[in-house]
Symmetry: C2
Subunit: 531 residues, 2 copies
């Protein structure tokens, strides 16, 4: 039977660009772009995540988490007058601030009384200089799509929104280098790049809302890291405003620039605690002429690993995503969202493998070779492969709805970890064993190609028994394997007490020294990253 399927694959492959291992349902979502909801969630939190418009407004985090306010000045009318004078009243907001105070997951709620919306780097500089002298705490905010409470105030910090710094300043189609302001929405940036045949080497669920400056400040990951690497490689230059208002010009439009210390990296992934990114240059690859997606079913994690190795070997330079979804994660999403259609069912593991290449015929050939040989060896059981943009989107939709499916109806303990691939999935089985019937679903999905697992433990409501079985075990387990307790979401407010599981005291000590050097008054994004 497998052999017949294989023959069918090859026969269809020679007939056209879209290859179906099984007939696919034609119903489902349609459209020309990927869905853009913030669905890559995998946060670590021990309280209920309450995403969705219907979720209630949470209590103030300062109260729920018993946060001791730092020794900062309190905002006065005189301060507000200064900022109104600097920016104009329209850009120094003191009313209707809820959207700025509450995080995407409605887990964190601050109590800021002032939101500032500068329109230039010079205004950002003037704001920070003033705040530093007055010892007023500030939280930089981009699209506020972060998942660890890094972009909202914890107490009464002033919110510094980068939303008006939203221009794409230049895109060079020859070199692929784009210069963009921090507040530009990722999708808008990508569209400008696509207009000249390029693409931004970063793609994630929140792309319709998140800002490129926030992406850089959090070293955002997403589904293309397996191909294009992380932002430390793609970002060529950064302009950042320091706590004292100094503008640090580390802009560069070159892949090769060895003039002194490479300090820009301090602002990539430090979550706005060392400086505020206002501008950056990024290397954008050419858009791929052909994009294909395969959705395949496998019988064991061992087969998943073998298929990943085969994908790297056979697809080589065109492999652009390699995602894993286990059966329980997929089924939860399918039960929750009836509009989703999975082309295959009944397997313990599923992989979504995407290719992006410059020649559709060549890519199709490689994909068929990859799938055919995987089926011959019995590693791949069944699946669908397509190059049709609408169908590509349908398959991506399945992957992207998985996180939402898990948090929609039940309480969910969620973890975003990097683990050695050989041990990648064990923790899901171990956790299922530990939780027993207390948990309704224990599942795993994520960016297999980057060793990044989203582990989820669901139950009907917060359950102290499960909590104790899950934490700190999950961190200790990750730490023992020298894994990362935060693969792509960062530390923010929610994970700062767990940092020591992935970094030793010497490293954390130097992080503190770095913070003290660059922000001696600690006004930038307090209560985050370091505890």
């Amino acid at each position: 039977m497998r052999f017949q399927q294989l023959l069918q694959v090859r026969r269809l492959a020679s007939a056209g660009a879209t290859t179906l291992m099984r007939p696919r349902p034609t119903t489902g979502t349609t459209g020309t772009t990927r869905p853009t909801t913030n669905t890559t969630a995998g946060i670590t939190t021990t309280v209920r995540t309450m995403a969705g418009s219907g979720a209630p407004i949470p209590e103030l985090t300062q109260i729920t988490d018993n946060v001791q306010r730092g020794n900062y000045a309190t905002l006065t009318d005189k301060d507000v007058a200064f900022f109104e004078n600097l920016l104009g009243k329209n850009f120094a907001l003191t009313e209707d601030l809820e959207g700025y105070n509450i995080c995407f997951l409605k887990r964190i709620r601050g109590n800021s009384k002032l939101v500032l919306k500068p329109g230039t780097t010079a205004e950002v500089s003037a704001i920070l200089k003033y705040c530093n002298e007055r010892k007023l705490a500030v939280v930089p905010q981009g699209g506020n799509t972060g998942l660890v409470g890094g972009s909202v105030p914890i107490c009464d910090e002033i919110v510094l929104s980068l939303a008006r710094l939203n221009k794409v300043l230049s895109v060079d189609e020859v070199t692929g280098i784009a210069v963009v302001e921090a507040g530009c929405i990722l999708e808008n940036f990508d569209q400008k790049a696509r207009d000249v045949g390029l693409t931004v080497p970063l793609d994630l669920g929140a792309k319709a809302s998140c800002h490129i400056g926030g992406n850089v400040s959090t070293n955002a990951g997403g589904v293309r890291v397996v191909r294009y690497g992380n932002l430390h490689g793609s970002v060529l230059g950064v302009e950042a405003v320091l706590a004292n208002g100094q503008v640090l010009d580390l802009m560069s439009n070159f892949k090769k620039d060895n003039t002194g210390y490479h300090m820009k990296h301090l602002f990539i992934g430090s979550e706005g605690t060392l400086g505020v990114v206002t501008k950056l240059s990024m290397l954008c690859p050419h858009s791929s002429k052909a994009v294909n997606v395969a959705f395949i079913g496998l019988n064991s994690f061992d087969d998943v690993l073998k298929t990943f190795v085969s994908a790297k070997r056979n697809l080589g330079e065109i492999l652009s995503s390699c995602e894993l979804i286990d059966e329980r994660a997929l089924n939860t999403a399918l039960e929750q969202f009836k509009f989703l259609n999975s082309p295959i069912s009944g397997y313990p593991f599923y992989m979504l493998i995407e290719t992006s290449g410059s020649n559709g015929d060549h890519d199709e050939d490689k994909i068929n070779q990859f799938i055919g040989s995987g089926m011959e060896r019995g590693e791949i059981q069944d699946g669908t492969v397509t190059g049709d943009p609408g169908k590509v989107q349908e398959i991506w939709k399945i992957r992207e709805m998985v996180p939402l499916g898990l948090i929609e109806k039940s309480f969910c303990f969620k973890y975003d970890i990097s683990l050695p691939l050989r041990d990648f999935y064990n923790i899901v089985d171990v956790m299922r064993e530990r939780c027993g019937p207390h948990a309704t679903v224990v599942c795993g999905y994520g960016h297999l190609g980057d060793s990044n697992l989203h582990l989820n433990v669901s139950c009907n409501e917060f359950n102290d028994e499960i909590y104790k079985r899950v934490e700190p075990f999950v961190y200790e387990y990750t730490s023992k394997l020298k894994g990362s307790i935060s693969a792509e979401h960062g530390i923010g407010f929610l994970k700062k007490d767990y940092l020591h599981y992935s970094k030793d005291p010497v490293a954390i000590g130097w992080m503190r020294d770095m913070k003290k050097l660059l922000d001696p008054n600690g006004i930038l994004n307090p209560y985050k990253v370091l505890n």
Copy 2:
């Protein structure tokens, strides 16, 4: 005629893997690996470079460059006894130190009285702790193949050789992640990677001598950056020993690891002035099944640019090198090294374009499409393309001998700059005009795909008139275009007075603060990077 050639290309392409646009001479160098002499030189220096075994031993740099010795302690017998006790007499050398004191180009000569060769990170730590307490200055040294005098003492610094920390600790063929000690020679590291089907994403002329730790410490560039990016993207983790002897463990085996500040980047490209890299992990791509090289002739730099854009579009994901050589640079090498055979001649510009892919047939198809369309448009005049390993090496040999050809017989002012591609070659013409008959050769070559130009001005001997015409003009010109005055070679000793042409005072001020924080006594690699 072009059309006939094009037909020939296509006819040959369909007949086999090696395509010749013109018959190629069969004589020349042979072998299975790329040449490994340090031939990517493009240093900035106003004194004669004296590479080659026959060059005389230079005067002490402290004298020639009038260097004021820093306020460091002077080595005593007691100090030597401490180190001998720590490492054993065989690894605390006090005699025959010339090779450690003189730089590769025989331009810089220090006067160190002690070379230490630790065998473990703990020994590196003990050495630095002692030196820091005693205020003894130290220069870390890898393969000593640097081109800006960064790896040799300037006065009497102790040489800390990493040569014994030379083990490849692990190579994971599934994830592509390798862990290696700093003193491992790049070629040896690459061989270990190739043993399991991977390759180190860094290739440069000095690979038979340079150490991977030195590569990381200098953020070495080379000929593969156009494909794999620079080391900030490839290096996943670093272990560095700080000036006070603390071991900073920033090792990570994951592409995604957002646990705190990304401090490892401070040690990538800071040339041993902030810490000594002792170990690192690196992401290694799979070896390519097919490697092809085209060597093509073009009539104008405008055609070069068009061909580069076409290469990015048509070759896409398989493009792995894109090098430029101008006519004068090529001819100088051909005159100097009679064993070189250029398959074509008579064009003002030449490009070496390499592809590396996972499917030889597909790659050949893409290359033929690229060349055929370039010839049809009249952008590519003639050339050779081959996938035969021996012939690939022959063509690379031409590119790699160009720098040596220029310094072999004449005095050479050499610059390693990044410039916007649209202005990339203008400076060569401008400089030729400025120098007039005073210069024997003014030429340019380099890594076009990374906007990295090696500008060379040759004359029979050092000529003050030319010097004044070239400097500081070349830096001012680069600075006005917001270029980089050191693309890949770093700052070291030779360029520290020019840093301000590419970095503003605020950035340089923060570099000083960073240095002061991490190395308050300034014992690590003094007289380098910052003046």
